[in-house]
Symmetry: C2
Subunit: 140 residues, 2 copies
C-alpha cells in the first residue's frame, strides 16, 4: 500500500544519512542531518502561572528568564511556550512557559543556583507562578 | 561580608560578558558566553521504568532512543539520566531516562511521530516504561 511504502522509503533515506554522518571528516561539509554538540547538563523547567491567561504575566516571566543568559556558567538557553503539537494522552502542554538551560556540568548548575542574577530573577518573578517542575539530566 | 561580595563580583563579570556579546561582530572570535542557536521546537520526554533499578532495561531504552537521531526531521538530540544536582522540592529527578529532541518546527515533530524509525522504537521499547511525560515547547 502507498501508506506503507512512503515511510519505508523515508527509513532508507534516514539510514543513508546516518551512514554519511559516521563517515564524514572535519574537512567535509556537515551532512544535512548533523546535530549540534550540546553541553551535557540539561536543566528543564516548566512553569504554571497563577494567572495563566495573563499575557503580561507571561511576558514578565519570559523577560525575567532571558536575564539568565548573562550567567557565565549558562552555556545554552531556550525559553518557550507550549507548541501546537497534536494532543496525546502522554503530552502535558498545560504549562504556560518553559525554560531549558544547558551547563557543561553539575558544578555549572550549582554556580547558577547561587548566582545573584538567578536570585534576582527568583525574587522578582516567583510571585507569578503557582507551580514549577524541574528535571536535571546529564547526557549519556 | 565575604559571602556577599563574591556574588556581587560575579554579577559584574556577568554583565561585562553580556556587553561583550552584544558588541561582537561575525569577524571576531565568539565570546566565551555565546550560546548555540537551537532549533525552535523542543520535545522533552521523561521516562519512568517498570524496573527502575534494571541497568539492562535502562541501557535498552537508551539504545532505542539513540536510533531516533537517524530521523531526518530530528535536528538535535540529547539523551540523559538524572543528574546529581542538589535535592530541592521543585526538582523531580525520579525519572530514569530523559530525551530531548529538537525540530525546526511543529511539522518536523509531526513527521517524526509517524516516522517508521520512531514507530519501531515504540514497538520495541514501550514495554520498558510504566509512565512517560512529554512537553512540547516552541521557542520565543
Amino acid at each position: 500500500m502507498n501508506n506503507q511504502s512512503l515511510p519505508r522509503r523515508q527509513f532508507l533515506l534516514g539510514a543513508a544519512a546516518a551512514t554519511a554522518v559516521s563517515l564524514s571528516t572535519e574537512a567535509e561539509p556537515l551532512p544535512s542531518n548533523a546535530h549540534p554538540a550540546l553541553p551535557k547538563l540539561r536543566h528543564s523547567v516548566f512553569f504554571w502561572l497563577k494567572n495563566p491567561d495573563s499575557e503580561s504575566d507571561i511576558a514578565a516571566l519570559i523577560a525575567g528568564l532571558k536575564t539568565l543568559a548573562n550567567i557565565d556558567s549558562v552555556k545554552g538557553i531556550q525559553i518557550g511556550v507550549p507548541a501546537s503539537t497534536e494532543k496525546r494522552d502522554v503530552v502535558d502542554n498545560s504549562f504556560q512557559v518553559s525554560e531549558m538551560l544547558l551547563f557543561d556540568d553539575v558544578e555549572g548548575q550549582n554556580q547558577y543556583q547561587v548566582h545573584p542574577v538567578h536570585q534576582k530573577f527568583v525574587e522578582e518573578c516567583s510571585h507569578l507562578w503557582r507551580k514549577v517542575v524541574v528535571y536535571d539530566s546529564i547526557a549519556v
